[in-house]
């Protein structure tokens, strides 16, 4: 029996159109816009101004606090401006706009693995410093600064590192391709993270709709004794959710409102692991990432290695251009991704995919009255009652919402996906969460 999480979950069609397409580098765009806030936490402080010349990998924004992250130039060229630019969130926020000239890399960055040092020779402090300097954030989409996740609070005892190779979002294949093409590098990155956390064991969780990735990783793991295991998982959405993945692999349940470290586990995404590998062995900051460009209407869905700050339009052009019948462009996957108002929005550290949806599939159906079928209750992976959270939200019953554990919602969208009456359950629950969040904040 393959492992999976126990409560709820759904099986959306997986639509992994690009799983067979090898990662190809995307040609450099003419201009990039590098947001200073590509992470959860305080935006980075700009270090450059209009007219400055920058090289690839040069620091252009400095972390402004503990929960923040460095931002580097992903190209060489001239800073056109530091201005507010609309990002994935739909809000205009400060970004460094750079006109691309050539491809001149900062001298400190090695273009390949450091050959003169045993990988085990890196100390914990060196690893942490490198991760901090490289501006690495969680690349599965949450974009939480990785350095912070590697510094467990005093009194906690990390025992196990879980590498998230689940990629449960339909359509996305960026992590899948990384696991196939960079299995050795991922193991080295995993060892670095284990050292940074002081844990002896790591498990790589991969859903069994990616048998080639499981086989590759297995092969790499069994060659060495590294304390790393591969755990194939039964396909079920949202298995990539941190709490669901931990429960699937270890059986431990992260309590309501607590962090994974409370059960001795730290989870990192495979994309993040690869960035850590590059940061330590090549001194390379997080300036590019693999992005899946996909959609049933696209001519050539594929996986592109793409510089941070590249407009989404460039990626869509590489995949055969924007189809005329496009109704929606999504940054991320269809379940949790964000719909974009324009293809001028740029790729950031957390952009795992660009999904194009045709007009005729882009609209929601009209919401009807709840028929109380309880299907939303059955699919909720957190054991909540989405129908009730929606009703309580409509009446703004903040206290009752809090008691109904609305803050436990991970916003996976399984309730919306399932609802036969097409009710916008998650829309309302997000609103509920912000209301309850304000009340909780005001109590402090």
């Amino acid at each position: 029996m393959l492992k999976t999480f126990t409560l709820g979950g759904i099986h959306p069609p997986d639509e992994k159109l690009s799983s067979g397409s090898a990662i190809v580098p995307l040609p450099l765009p003419e201009q990039v816009k590098i947001p200073l806030s590509q992470h959860i936490g305080v935006p980075a402080l700009p270090l450059v101004k209009k007219g400055d010349r920058v090289k690839v990998g040069q620091l252009v924004g400095e972390a402004a606090g503990f929960i923040s992250a460095n931002v580097h130039s992903s190209v060489s060229g001239v800073v056109v401006n530091v201005e507010a630019v609309v990002d994935t969130s739909g809000y205009a926020r400060p970004a460094v706009v750079i006109r691309v000239e050539g491809d001149e890399w900062d001298k400190s960055i090695g273009r390949q693995e450091t050959p003169d040092r045993y990988l085990s020779a890196f100390s914990r402090e060196e690893i942490l410093t490198a991760v901090q300097a490289a501006g690495i954030v969680g690349m599965g989409g949450a974009t939480f600064p990785t350095r912070v996740k590697l510094s467990p609070p005093a009194g906690s005892h990390p025992e196990l590192l879980i590498i998230n190779g689940v990629e449960c979002e339909p359509f996305l294949t960026a992590d899948h391709r990384l696991m196939i093409e960079k299995s050795r590098e991922l193991l080295i990155g995993t060892r670095f993270l284990m050292k940074a956390l002081g844990v002896e064991q790591a498990v790589i969780g991969i859903e069994n709709n990616k048998p080639d990735a499981i086989a590759k990783t297995w092969e790499a793991v069994t060659k060495h004794t590294l304390g790393i295991k591969v755990c194939p998982l039964k396909v079920k959405y949202p298995q990539g959710g941190e709490k669901q993945l931990i429960q699937a692999i270890t059986g431990r349940r992260v309590p309501s409102g607590a962090l994974p470290i409370s059960v001795g586990v730290v989870v990192h995404n495979v994309g993040t692991v690869y960035a850590v590998y590059e940061a330590i062995t090549m001194h390379k900051p997080l300036i590019e990432r693999v992005v899946t460009v996909t959609g049933k209407s696209l001519a050539r869905p594929g996986n592109y290695l793409c510089r941070v700050g590249t407009p989404v339009a460039c990626l869509i052009d590489a995949a055969g251009g924007l189809p005329g019948d496009t109704g929606k462009v999504i940054s991320g996957g269809p379940m949790m991704g964000k719909a974009l108002a324009s293809t001028d929005v740029v790729v950031t550290k957390g952009t795992s995919g660009v999904l194009v949806i045709p007009e005729n599939e882009a609209r929601r159906k009209t919401a009807r009255d709840c028929i109380r079928c309880a299907k939303c209750v059955r699919v909720c992976p957190m054991g909540l009652e989405p129908y009730l959270l929606m009703t309580l939200g409509e009446y703004q019953q903040v206290e009752k919402l809090e008691r109904a554990r609305v803050m436990d919602c991970i916003e996976c969208g399984s309730c919306n996906f399932t609802c036969p009456a097409h009710r916008p359950l998650l829309d309302m629950i997000r609103l509920d969460k912000s209301r309850v969040g304000q009340v909780i904040k005001s109590r402090k």
Binding site: I10, G337, P420, L426
Partner: protein, 327 residues
């Protein structure tokens, strides 16, 4: 410049709809409908057609002219109410009573609460119980089930009438209900062949076939029906073990409205609990009340009352039986 649609995630839907579920239930009711026509003749079909036409008509009229809201009769829920109402009536009932029952079911049972999703009681049962209390004679005149043959025979005793008879005489139930004495074999009870009763309830096997279809299509889960079956089996089993004058578990499961009620009426989305634990409690309540009414109550059959009573408890059950949280 393209204009894109911007909306919050998720951007895909599983394709389920109210219609898919409602028409799924109707498909699952087909085997039982065929059996009822087979056993009771065209009368069963006429009653069903009259009930469905009336429920749809009344829902249309009320939505369009009284409430002045969009008409939603195409969602299939009014059709289900019609079929279920018909299934709970004798096949020889005057059609004007069917129309009256449909008016009460839709008007009072459903629309007065705000239509689909808002009613507290199962609309078909509201209609049925109204008719049963107001017109007890017509509602308990059971025709002899002899298919398309025309006979003058008017009434046949239903198996459930014998339950109280056995208890009055304190004879073992098996004796009172032996096939020679006007009773039936378990096989006859299961298929419904030659058994008197409401037109849709008599063939347990046809209803179980519908149950399998509903589970296969994931329209309902097994929890409520199984909870009802287990409770009935357990409770009647204990009574039968103490005193053989009480009918046994298989008799109670296969006779009367247990199958129809447990599979198609107790599982009504709107009026049944939302959590697994709630479903178990709700089902256990229906099972217990059914056996209590059948053995100790004034009526021979108690499924309808049991379901309506537990319908009333559903909001309370929903409040106290929360689903299992993640942690």
């Amino acid at each position: 410049m393209n204009k894109f649609i911007v909306s919050p995630s998720p951007h895909v839907h599983g394709g389920d709809s109210i219609e898919r579920n409602m028409y799924g239930v109707l498909v699952a009711l087909l085997p039982a409908l065929l059996c009822s026509i087979l056993f009771f003749g065209w009368g069963a079909l006429y009653v069903t057609i009259a009930a469905v036409a009336s429920t749809m008509f009344f829902e249309y009229i009320i939505q369009k002219y009284l409430l002045k809201q969009p008409v939603t009769i195409e969602d299939g829920s009014a059709i289900i109410t019609g079929v279920l109402l018909a299934f709970n009536l004798p096949s020889t009932i005057p059609l004007w009573l069917v129309v009256l029952g449909a008016l009460v079911a839709i008007g009072i049972g459903k629309m007065s609460f705000g239509g689909i999703g808002n009613n507290i009681f199962n609309p078909a049962l509201v209609g049925r119980v109204f008719l049963l209390i107001s017109f007890p004679v017509q509602m308990t005149t059971w025709p002899v089930p002899n298919g398309f043959e025309t006979t003058d025979a008017v009434t046949a005793p239903t198996p459930l009438l014998l339950v109280k008879q056995a208890l009055r005489t304190q004879k073992p139930f098996a004796e009172v209900f032996s096939p020679g004495e006007g009773g039936h074999s378990l096989l006859e009870l299961g298929t419904g062949s030659g058994v008197g009763g409401s037109l849709g309830e008599i063939s347990a096997f046809a209803l179980l076939l519908g149950f399998a279809y509903l589970l296969l299509k994931r329209v309902i889960t097994w929890h409520v029906p199984v909870s009802i079956f287990l409770t009935i089996a357990l409770f009647s089993g204990i009574l039968h073990w103490i005193n053989p004058a009480y009918a046994g578990p298989l008799f109670h499961l296969l006779s009367g409205g247990v199958m129809l009620g447990a599979i198609f009426m107790a599982t009504d989305y709107v009026t049944s609990p939302m959590s697994r634990r709630g479903m178990w409690i709700y089902g256990a309540g229906i099972g217990t009340l059914t056996i209590v009414i059948r053995n100790f109550g004034a009526y021979p059959e108690g499924v309808s009352f049991a379901i309506l009573i537990m319908n009333a408890f559903t909001p309370l059950i929903n409040r106290y039986c929360k689903p299992k949280r993640f942690a």
